[in-house]
Structure formats: C-alpha cells, structure tokens
C-alpha cells in the first residue's frame, strides 16, 4: 500500500529537537508543516518534544494551542502521535512538575524512573529492547521485540487499558507505547531509531 496523500502538522512548541522529527516525515511525504500556528486543515498531528512537563504545558498555553488541540484531537478526532514529552503531556499530571495539569486525554500520571528502581542509571539514554503489540497498526511489519532509542527520566503509568508497547530490559519493564481512540503515544524516539523507527513513521502515515 502506498502512503496516501495527507498533510501532517508537527507542533512546534519550542521543546527540543524538532528537525529530526520533521526530517523523518519528510523522508516519506512533502506535505509536512512544522509550526506553532494551528493547521486546521492537517489530516494528522504530531506532538514531539523533550524537556520538562511543566514547561511543555506552559509553552502550549503561551502559544495559545490548548483550544486548538482539544478541538482538533478530541472533537474532530484527528489521528495524533505524541513522542516522548509529547506523549507524557497526554496524561493527567507529572511528578516532574507538581501542580501542573496535563492535557488529560489519557487517565494516569507520569513518574520518575527512580520509583521503579534505585539501581538504574538516570537519565535513561540509549537503545532499549521494547515489546510492541503485533496487533497495533502502528507496529505493522515489525517484530514483537525491537530496539528503540530512549532519552528520558520519567515514564507514564496509565490508569486505563492503553498499552501497546513496553520497555523490557532484564531489570525493569514499563509502558512505553500507548493507543487510545485516535491518539498514539511513544516514549522512545522513532525519528532517532534508524530503519525500525522510520517504519513506525511510515505506519502512522498509512493509518
């Protein structure tokens, strides 16, 4: 199946490296817009981002993006992919920024990796073995275990059945990919995960 014609809006809310996210989508299609201005005619939305939870939400507010996100994602149901911090902000709150409300698209919270183990290095930086659900369209034509690139200190704890993938090392496991209705989220960076990561981008474009 070819990639259908579509317009992708990558939200630029000034949170970290967006060039590679842009590049990874441009690898497949030309109609990719990286902007902080709401692209209401976009078919799909990508929310990337690295950095602190509170700062991410603050920037979305400052750039007056919250209403657009609720309208386009929740009401109009546009297919959305959150990457790293972009996924964490879908949840209700984060230990990283107490008192800051998340977007609340998914029930649950974000916590420090320290809660899982006091024996691991933090930040968690590098490629980790990850279980991905063979049934998810996002992981079409990938094996059930793949290596993806992670760079983070916090992880999500969903309070509903949204898990489609988890980091699975000998030491610990935690949810690292979620899917709820039109919303996908991954803790790892598909745009930095070589060919397997690009496959996820391609799959997202084909959903």
């Amino acid at each position: 199946m070819d990639i259908p014609k579509q317009k992708i809006w990558i939200i630029d809310y000034e949170m970290g490296n967006l060039k590679s996210v842009f590049g990874s989508f441009r690898n497949f299609i030309d109609t990719v817009v990286l902007s902080h201005k709401p692209q209401t005619d976009a078919d799909k939305i990508v929310i990337p981002g690295v950095g602190a939870f509170g700062k991410g939400i603050e920037n979305l507010k400052r750039l007056k993006l919250l209403d657009a996100l609720y309208e386009l994602i929740l009401e109009r149901g546009k297919l959305t992919l959150g990457i790293c911090l972009g996924m964490q902000i879908f949840f209700e709150r984060s230990e990283e920024s107490p008192g800051v409300e998340g977007l609340k698209f998914i029930r649950g919270e974000v916590k420090s990796l320290r809660h899982i183990s006091d024996k691991i290095r933090i930040p968690n930086i590098g490629w980790a073995k990850t279980y991905i659900s063979p049934n998810s369209l996002l992981f079409n034509k990938l094996s059930s275990y793949e290596y993806f690139y992670y760079i983070h200190s916090f992880f999500v704890i969903p309070q509903e059945e949204v898990k489609i993938g988890e980091l699975d090392s000998d030491e610990i496991k935690f949810v690292s990919a979620v899917h709820k209705n039109n919303i996908f989220g991954v803790q790892f960076h598909p745009e930095k995960s070589g060919e397997k990561g690009l496959k996820i981008i391609e799959n997202f474009l084909k959903i």
């Binding site: 980790a128 290596y147 983070h152 960076h189 930095k192």
Partner: protein
C-alpha cells in the same frame, strides 16, 4: 554501581571544521572522504548507536558552515547526534539544538563558568546537557584539563563530576588525555572511578585500538564507548565490533 536498562552504545566521533571532516576518512565506499553527511550515513548503516560531532571551527563563518552540516545530518541520518565545540553560553547550545543536535556537550565553557550547566539544564532539560571532561593523571590523581587538554585547572576529576551532576549534567563524556591517541586501551581506572560515583551514564573516550578495549571499558562501567580513528581508518568496523561485544555477553542493539 548503577546499571543501564539500555544496550551499550557504540559512538563514532567526527571532528569537523567549517562543515568538513578534519582528518580524511579512509573507507573504500566513500566518494568524498571529507563529507560528514556521507560518513554519518555509513556509520549509521553499520550500526552506530549515536554519532558524536565535535566542531572545531575557529571563525563565525566556519561555525555557520558546521551548523548547516549538522542540520543536514539531523534531517537525513536517523540516529541520535551529540554535538560539541566552543559552547560558552545557552545561545551557543540553542544554536546546535536548533540545527538538530539531540545532545550538546560542554567542556571548557563549563569549567570556566559552572553555572552554565545549571542554566542549560534549566532551559533545555538535563537529558541534552552532556558535560565533557578531559582528565589527565597528575601526581597519582586525575585532574581536569581544558582547552583541548592544553591547560591545567587544578580541579580534581572526582570533585568535578559530583559538581556537574549536581548542576544538572545528564551525561558525562569522559576522555583520558593520557590514553587518547595511543590505541593502547581506555583508562579503565578512570572509567571505573567515575562510573561508580555518578548515577548518570558515562561515555568512555580515548585509547581504543582493539575490540577487546571496548569490552574492558564496558566492564569498567561505561554506558557507551566512543572512538574516532579506529573507525575512520577502517581498523575496526562497527558491525564486527558489535558482533564481538555480543559474543562477550555485552548487551548491544542488533
């Protein structure tokens, strides 16, 4: 010692000046031995887990050419990129991050102004702040050197690592000046001392000459191993190195 939940990273490092690789790279499949983009593509295809780029441009225009080159790599090579070279302010760091670097390393700038680490960590997040430390043995102790290893600081490495982590460093890029360029192996004592005493990942650098050296560095506690000339001159191919590590029961990305 803290453990990694990720695989060991193999990181080739390119020195670039005015957007070009400083020392030519000796691969048969390379059309242009000075093109960092082409080289990065090959390394990534061979299984490099990350690519490190050190920009040693001396002029404004040279730096601009390097930044453009980093953009090109970030848009076309889909593995993480760490960039360093002459970072003295958050603006310098922002410039590299905007061009597509995932992490930026600070070395001399951090020693001369330690609050730069805190400031960069606050603005960009700890995860993209790498503090590069050049260490040299002086009277039986490890001392921090700056200006590409040319200037002594009188600062003890063990004191400095505690401080940089407190200030918000997300990773330490640890180079042994004594071992660098010798191809006689990493400084294992140095790696072990640092890896034992910090919770953040430590990238070992300086001294790689044979595949065994990489195994030793990992066993000493390195989360990632960096090398330059052994890769550039084709003495060690990344693909074969990873196979060697795997046979030695070291977790690598396959």
């Amino acid at each position: 010692m803290k453990k990694d939940i990720t695989t060991v990273r193999i990181i080739p490092c390119l020195d670039i000046k005015n957007g070009r690789v400083v020392k030519g790279i000796n691969f048969v499949e390379l059309k242009d031995a000075g093109d960092p983009y082409e080289i990065s593509k090959i390394y990534s295809k061979e299984g490099a887990d990350e690519i490190c780029i050190l920009d040693i441009s001396a002029s404004e225009e040279g730096r601009k050419a390097s930044v453009d080159m980093i953009s090109k790599i970030a848009e076309g090579v889909f593995v993480p990129i760490t960039v360093g070279g002459g970072v003295r302010s958050p603006e310098n760091m922002r410039e590299y991050l905007k061009s597509g670097a995932d992490k930026v390393s600070i070395n001399t700038g951090a020693v001369e102004n330690p609050s730069l680490i805190r400031e960069c960590a606050r603005i960009f997040g700890s995860q993209c702040v790498v503090v590069a430390i050049d260490a040299k043995r002086v009277d039986g102790k490890f001392e921090v050197f700056i200006y590409s290893g040319k200037k002594r600081t009188g600062i003890n490495v063990m004191d400095w690592i505690q401080k940089v982590v407190e200030l918000g460093a997300g990773e330490i890029l640890l180079t042994s000046i004594d071992a660098d360029g010798t191809q006689q192996g990493y400084d294992l004592e140095l790696i072990n001392l640092v890896a034992e005493n910090v919770d953040v990942p430590v990238i070992a650098s300086g001294g790689a000459g044979k595949p065994e050296h990489f195994v030793e560095a990992v066993r000493a506690g390195a989360s990632a191993v960096l090398a330059a000339s052994v890769f550039h001159f084709g003495k060690i191919r990344i693909k074969e190195l990873k196979e060697y590590l795997r046979k030695n029961n070291i977790k690598i990305r396959t």
